[in-house]
Symmetry: C2
Subunit: 190 residues, 2 copies
């Protein structure tokens, strides 16, 4: 088993923190092997951010990612850049309030992470909402592991906010109703 996960968006959305928590969930709490990478190039100075996690049940040779098995995109720029670096059966999750246009043959899962986080009182936990959705949709780590890793990674006074964000994300990922778009699609209407 080797799962390559890419989380991308713009700077300040916490994509690196999300990836660090996911790696910790896998390695520390689920007993897997994980490797977590961020590559910063000229795009980092334009506000784009991306982070990657490789989760495996054995040794990880090459620590880089080519095409993601799971892609979470939190900005249009990020989706435009990485939306095609996926596999035919990849799990793709986007926030339709920050990604406006997509056209891929895979199922695209829509999770309104920014809106959900705002509803919980703080937009900064949108990344944690996405972690919950990713966990529910992919099963790459257990719910217990992602919760434990999240709580271990945030200051005490933010634990309940982050727990709520994670649970809302899991619920959004599990709710296969209007949160999920199947098939080819472009322009979500803005």
């Amino acid at each position: 088993m080797r799962q390559e996960i890419r989380i991308c968006g713009f700077g300040g959305q916490g994509v690196i923190t999300g990836a660090v928590i996911l790696g910790k969930a896998a390695a520390v709490y689920d007993g897997l092997i994980a490797c977590q990478v961020q590559s910063y190039g000229p795009e980092a100075r334009g506000g784009a951010a991306r982070a990657e996690v490789i989760i495996a049940d054995g040794q990880i040779g090459y620590p880089g990612i080519h095409t993601a098995d799971i892609l979470v995109a939190m900005s249009q720029e990020a989706f435009s850049k990485y939306g095609r670096e996926v596999k035919p059966d990849s799990i793709i999750i986007v926030d339709p309030d920050t990604v406006f246009s997509w056209e891929v043959s895979q199922t695209v899962h829509l999770v309104r992470s920014t809106k959900i986080a705002e509803g919980l009182g703080n937009v900064v936990v949108a990344n944690i909402v996405m972690l919950g959705a990713l966990t529910a949709l992919s099963g790459v780590v257990s719910h217990e592991a992602i919760l434990a890793a999240t709580l271990a990674s945030v200051p005490a006074r933010f634990k309940e906010l982050n727990r709520a964000a994670l649970e809302a994300g899991i619920a959004a990922g599990m709710g296969q109703g209007d949160a999920v778009t199947h098939g080819r699609r472009a322009t979500a209407g803005r």
Copy 2:
């Protein structure tokens, strides 16, 4: 130019955060290319932590590290594991309050990051003290860049604490007096 930096210690010392800030300093503020990796294996469950940063002025092919050009060790276990994975001219920085024994032919720079952070009121900024020392000793990023990246990465109410920690670390790194041990040495006496 390609510099490979490894920061290691035990879980909770913020080695990953330190590495993320260093990568951001290089890429966002100094205009370099950076890649930042953490690999979690069975050792992560024992509390050991390590994170790596590769900084280059051109494309980074392989995102992994073999032998570090700069090693920061914040626990004995980490130093025992990674202290030999260095180059003949590597810069090695250890906290002599948490690393008790070393025997290498390189100069070992002693920075009392835990003690300095305690003196500033919060042991959690020991990692930032180490970042300051690393910057002063290696010049791998500019002082301006590491300060900007640090301040951009911490909550508003911790900015002054982190600024103080960084400056104390820079001072410790620049003070080439009793903070630096030259030559072979073992057992710091505890």
